[in-house]
C-alpha cells in the first residue's frame, strides 16, 4: 500500500532530519524502552529517536569481545550497531535515556557509559505491588524532566506535556482503529504491516504520523481482504520485534497465516492504553506506563496478569495459535514461556516458540522455515 510505504520513507529520513535539526540547535534524545516517555522529550522541545534496531547478525557479534555472549541479541545489537559505526543517530545524540527495568538493558546502559556516551538512566522498580516502590518510578520521571530541562534550556510545562500526550493518544487511537480491522474474517492488513506502522510512528513527527495513519485507516477500511478466509489467526507474543527484524513475521504471513494480534513489550506502542489527558500530566504518564497497562514481563508478580491479557486477546481476535517470539538467551521470557505453555496447554491452544539470535543464514532459515510451515499447516488443517 502506497500510503504505508510513504510513511516508511518518511521514517527512513528521520536520522537525516535529526542531523539537520541538531545543526539548528535542537537537542536530540535517543531512548530505550517504553518507560522513557517520548512525550516528555517532545514537551522539552527536543526530538526523540527510539533505539531498538535488530535483525542482523553482525551487530550482536561485534561486541562479543566486550559483553557476555549470553546477553540477548537485541541488547547486544544496540551496542553493536554503534560499535560498527552503523547507528546513524547515537554519535550525535545529546542524551541517551535508558529504561532500567531488567538486566540486559541495564548492563547495556553501563556499556554505553563506558563508551563515554551521554547516558541517563530511568529507574523502574519491578515490585509494583507496593506504593513506595511505585513512587520510585515517578521520582525518576521527575529526574528525567529535570535532565531534559537542563539539556534543552526549556521548561516542560503541563501544557506542552498535555499536547504531546494528546498526540500520542491520537496515534494510539488510530493504531487501535487499524488494529480493529484485523478482527475481520479477512482483513486488509496483517501483522507485518501493523508492526511496520508501529515502528514508523516512532520515527516521524507526531502530526505527520497522525495525518498518515488517518489516511491509511480510511483506505484500509474500504480495502478488500488480503488473506485466505481460512487463514490461521496468530497471536505474536514476546519481548520485541525490533526495527529491522522482520524475517519471521514476513515468513509467517507468506506461509498463509495472519498475525491478528501482538503482545510485545519493546519497539511497539502500548496503544491499547491511552494516557489520561486531564489533571497532572506527569502523574498520568506514570500511571499509564506503570499501572494501567498489563504488566511487563519483569514486573513481579506479573505473569498471571499477563496471561489474563493474553487470554483476552485470544478471545477478542479469535486466535487459532500463539507464536512465542523469544530473543535467544532472554532468560526471564524463557521462564515465562514455560508457564504460558502450561496454561495454553490447559486451554488446548497451539503454541510455537521461535527463538531468534538474528542469525538468518540459509542454514539457520531451513529448520526455522520447516517449523513455521509445519505449525501453520497444522493450524490450517485444524480449521
Amino acid at each position: 500500500m502506497e500510503l504505508i510505504a510513504e510513511l516508511g520513507r518518511a521514517a527512513a529520513e528521520r536520522p537525516t532530519n535529526l542531523r539537520r535539526m541538531k545543526r539548528d540547535g535542537t537537542k536530540i534524545v535517543e531512548y530505550i524502552g517504553n518507560f522513557v516517555p517520548e512525550e516528555m522529550i517532545y514537551a522539552a522541545g527536543a526530538k526523540p529517536y527510539l533505539m531498538c534496531r535488530g535483525g542482523e547478525p553482525e551487530p550482536p557479534d561485534a561486541v562479543l569481545g566486550e559483553i557476555l555472549r549470553f546477553m540477548n541479541p537485541l541488547a547486544r545489537s544496540m551496542a553493536g550497531f554503534h560499535i560498527l559505526g552503523l547507528d546513524p543517530v547515537t554519535p550525535f545524540a545529546d542524551l541517551i535515556a535508558v529504561s532500567q527495568h531488567e538486566c540486559h538493558v541495564q548492563r547495556l546502559a553501563e556499556y554505553l557509559e563506558f563508551q563515554n556516551l551521554p547516558v541517563h538512566k530511568v529507574g523502574v522498580t519491578v515490585d509494583w505491588d507496593r506504593d513506595f516502590a511505585r513512587e520510585y518510578y515517578y521520582k525518576e520521571l521527575l529526574e528525567l524532566k529535570r535532565k531534559l530541562e537542563a539539556l534543552t534550556g526549556n521548561t516542560i510545562t503541563d501544557e506542552a506535556l498535555r499536547k504531546a500526550i494528546l498526540h500520542s493518544n491520537e496515534i494510539n487511537g488510530l493504531l487501535r482503529d487499524i488494529d480493529g480491522l484485523r478482527k475481520k474474517d479477512n482483513p486488509p492488513l496483517g501483522g507485518k504491516e501493523f508492526i511496520h506502522l508501529n515502528h514508523y510512528t516512532f520515527f516521524t513527527e507526531p502530526e505527520y504520523a497522525i495525518e498518515k495513519l488517518r489516511a491509511i485507516y480510511d483506505e484500509l477500511e474500504k480495502a478488500p481482504g488480503k488473506f485466505d478466509k481460512n487463514a490461521p489467526r496468530l497471536l505474536l507474543a514476546g519481548h520485541s520485534v525490533a526495527v529491522g527484524d522482520y524475517i519471521v513475521v514476513n515468513r509467517l504471513e507468506e506461509l498463509g497465516a495472519l498475525i491478528a494480534a501482538e503482545m510485545l513489550e519493546e519497539g511497539f506502542r502500548w496503544y491499547h492504553w491511552d494516557v489520561e489527558a486531564e489533571g497532572d500530566p506527569l502523574r498520568n504518564i506514570w500511571r499509564n506506563r506503570y499501572l494501567d497497562k498489563s504488566p511487563v514481563n519483569i514486573f513481579q508478580p506479573g505473569w498471571r496478569d499477563r496471561f489474563a491479557h493474553m487470554k483476552q486477546l485470544i478471545e477478542e481476535y479469535r486466535i487459532d495459535g500463539v507464536i512465542w517470539y523469544q530473543l535467544l538467551y532472554d532468560e526471564i521470557f524463557d521462564l515465562e514461556y514455560s508457564c504460558v505453555a502450561k496454561w495454553l496447554g490447559e486451554m488446548k491452544v497451539p503454541l510455537l516458540r521461535v527463538e531468534t539470535s538474528y542469525e538468518y543464514t540459509r542454514e539457520a532459515m531451513a529448520p526455522l522455515n520447516a517449523r513455521l510451515e509445519s505449525f501453520v499447516e497444522f493450524l490450517k488443517g485444524d480449521k
Binding site: L68, M71, Q106, R107, F114, K121, T125, V126, K342
Partner: protein, 482 residues
C-alpha cells in the same frame, strides 16, 4: 574408629564421641534424602574432599562439620513444617544480617536458611553430585539452552523432589540479577501455588559518576524496601523482628566479616600460601547465608582455622611451593573445586576473590542509625551492590593492594548482571594496574558444559603465561626442555 562410610565422613568433619553416635542415623537419613549413596559418601570422604580442601587443618574439618549439621537440619524440614515451625527461605546474594535478625527474633520457632545454596555446597562442592539436581529442573521445564542459573535450578529441584517443603515465605532479594526472584514466581506458577514470596528489589540505575553507598536516598529507599519486606515476613510468620535483633545481627555479621577478612588477608599475603582460594570461600560461608543451626560451630571452625593458618604462615608452611605465581579471581568457582585444583596442578596458587575480600569501606562504621538503613548501606558497600564504575574502582583498589600475578574474570556466564561486563572490566583493570587479566567463559556452579576437558587447555595456557611472565620479571631465563 569409623566403621561405615557415613561414620568416616563424620569423623572427617570433626564430629566426635557421643554427638557422632547421635548424629550417625540422622546423617544416614540426610544422605538418603539428598540422593547421596553410601558410595558417594565414601568417595567424598576418602578422595574428593581431601583432594580439594585442606583437611589437614582441624579448622577446615570443623567447617565441614558445621555444614554437615546444617544439612542434617535441612533434611528435617518436612518434620519441622508438620510440627508447625515457621519456615523462611532466602536466596543468594542477600545481606545475611537481615536473616540473622529474623532467626534471632524467632529462635526455635522459625527455620531460616538458603536451602539451595546449602545444597550447592553439599551436593556439588563436597560431593560433585549437583548435576542430578540441575537435570531434574531441566526435565521439569526449565530449559537448558537459555543459560539459566544452576543455583536457581537447584532451588526448583529440591522443591520438586520434596527435599524441602513449601516455606511459609521465601524472602528473595533481586538486588543483583532478575532471575533470582522470578524463579519464585516460576515455582508458584508451574509447580506450587502455595509458594509465597516477598521480594526486595532496587533498580540498577546509578550513573557512572555516582557511588551507590554514598547516596543517602539510595540507602533510604533500600532500607525502606527491607523494612517493608521484614514487615511482610512478620505478618506471614507472626514473628516480630525488633530493632535490637537487627542491631545484634549487624554487630555479629560485621564481626564475622572482620575475622574472615583477617584470615583471607593473612592467607593471600603468605608465601607459601597455606590455603587455596576455594577453601577461603568455605571460611566465608556464614556471611553468605544464614545457618539455621546457629553460628557457634562455624565460628569454632573459623577461629581454629585462623589460628592454624597463623601458625603455619609464621613457620613458612604452605600447600604450594614457595614463590609460585598467584592468580586472583573475581569469584573463585567454589562449587567446582577441580578448577582450583587444576591451577594448583599447573604450579599456580589461587589467591584473592574480589567479591570476598572485604574492602576498607566495609569495615568503616555506618553513617546511619536506622538499622534497616544500616543493612542497606552494608549491601551497597558490597562489590555487587553497586554500578560498574565504582565496582571497577573497587576491583582496581583490591588488585593494587594484593598485586597477584594475574586475575581471572568470568565464570558467571549465566548472570546477566554480575557476569555481563567482565570482559570490558578485565581490560580496564589490566590497563589501570598492569596486572594481566584473563576472561574465562564458564559456569560458577555447573560443570556439565564446561567440563575439566573443556577448560584444561585454557587453564594450562593461562598458567604457562603467568609463570613465564613471573620468570621474566625475576630475570630468570627459560630454555626449551627445562
Amino acid at each position: 574408629m569409623a566403621s561405615t562410610a557415613y561414620e568416616e565422613f563424620l569423623e572427617l568433619a570433626a564430629i566426635e564421641g557421643k554427638e557422632r553416635e547421635r548424629l550417625l542415623p540422622e546423617w544416614i537419613e540426610a544422605a538418603r534424602r539428598m540422593r547421596l549413596s553410601e558410595e558417594d559418601v565414601r568417595y567424598a570422604a576418602r578422595e574428593w574432599i581431601p583432594k580439594h580442601v585442606e583437611m589437614q587443618y582441624l579448622g577446615c574439618r570443623k567447617l565441614l562439620g558445621a555444614m554437615v549439621r546444617e544439612s542434617i537440619d535441612h533434611t528435617k524440614l518436612p518434620e519441622y513444617k508438620a510440627a508447625g515451625k515457621k519456615i523462611v527461605y532466602g536466596v543468594l546474594p542477600a545481606n545475611v544480617m537481615s536473616y540473622l535478625a529474623l532467626k534471632r527474633a524467632g529462635g526455635d520457632k522459625i527455620f531460616v536458611s538458603f536451602p539451595d545454596l546449602n545444597m550447592m555446597f553439599m551436593a556439588q562442592y563436597f560431593f560433585n553430585r549437583g548435576g542430578q539436581y540441575f537435570e531434574i529442573a531441566e526435565q521439569a521445564g526449565m530449559t537448558y539452552g537459555a543459560r539459566h542459573c544452576a543455583l536457581n535450578k537447584m532451588r526448583i529441584a529440591i522443591r520438586l523432589t520434596d527435599l524441602i517443603p513449601t516455606p511459609d515465605v521465601d524472602w528473595a532479594w533481586g538486588l543483583v540479577c532478575d532471575e533470582a526472584t522470578k524463579i519464585d514466581e516460576y515455582i508458584n506458577c508451574m509447580y506450587d501455588e502455595k509458594w509465597k514470596t516477598v521480594i526486595t528489589r532496587l533498580p540498577h540505575d546509578t550513573s557512572a559518576d555516582e557511588v551507590d553507598y554514598e547516596m543517602p536516598d539510595r540507602a533510604r529507599f533500600l532500607g525502606r524496601e527491607l523494612r517493608y519486606s521484614v514487615g511482610e515476613v512478620e505478618k506471614i510468620t507472626g514473628i516480630k523482628v525488633e530493632d535490637k535483633h537487627l542491631e545484634e545481627a549487624y554487630a555479629e555479621s560485621q564481626g564475622l566479616l572482620a575475622t574472615a577478612g583477617q584470615l583471607i588477608g593473612m592467607t593471600v599475603r603468605a608465601d607459601p600460601q597455606p590455603l587455596r582460594s576455594s577453601t577461603l570461600l568455605l571460611a566465608s560461608v556464614a556471611f553468605s547465608f544464614p545457618l539455621n543451626t546457629g553460628l557457634d560451630y562455624f565460628k569454632d571452625g573459623l577461629v581454629t582455622l585462623a589460628e592454624e593458618v597463623k601458625r603455619d604462615v609464621r613457620s613458612g608452611v604452605g600447600i604450594y611451593p614457595k614463590g609460585v605465581p598467584k592468580v586472583g579471581f573475581y569469584f573463585i568457582p567454589f562449587a567446582l573445586p577441580w578448577i582450583d585444583k587444576m591451577f594448583m596442578d599447573n604450579g599456580v596458587a589461587t589467591s584473592i576473590s574480589l567479591t570476598f575480600l572485604p574492602a576498607k569501606r566495609q569495615m568503616e562504621p555506618s553513617k546511619y542509625t536506622d538499622p534497616y538503613e544500616k543493612a542497606a548501606e552494608q549491601w551497597l558497600k558490597k562489590v555487587y551492590g553497586m554500578g560498574c564504575r565504582p565496582e571497577l574502582n573497587d576491583w582496581i583498589e583490591k588488585v593494587n593492594m594484593f598485586k597477584p600475578d594475574a586475575m581471572i574474570m568470568g565464570f558467571l556466564d549465566y548472570d546477566r548482571w554480575i557476569g555481563a561486563l567482565h570482559k570490558t572490566m578485565a581490560k580496564k583493570v589490566e590497563e589501570a594496574t598492569g596486572v594481566p587479566c584473563f576472561y574465562m567463559e564458564a559456569d560458577f556452579y555447573d560443570g556439565r558444559d564446561y567440563s575439566p576437558e573443556a577448560l584444561r587447555t585454557r587453564i594450562e595456557s593461562i598458567c604457562q603465561i603467568v609463570k613465564s611472565r613471573k620468570a621474566a620479571k625475576q630475570g630468570a631465563t627459560g630454555s626449551a626442555g627445562n
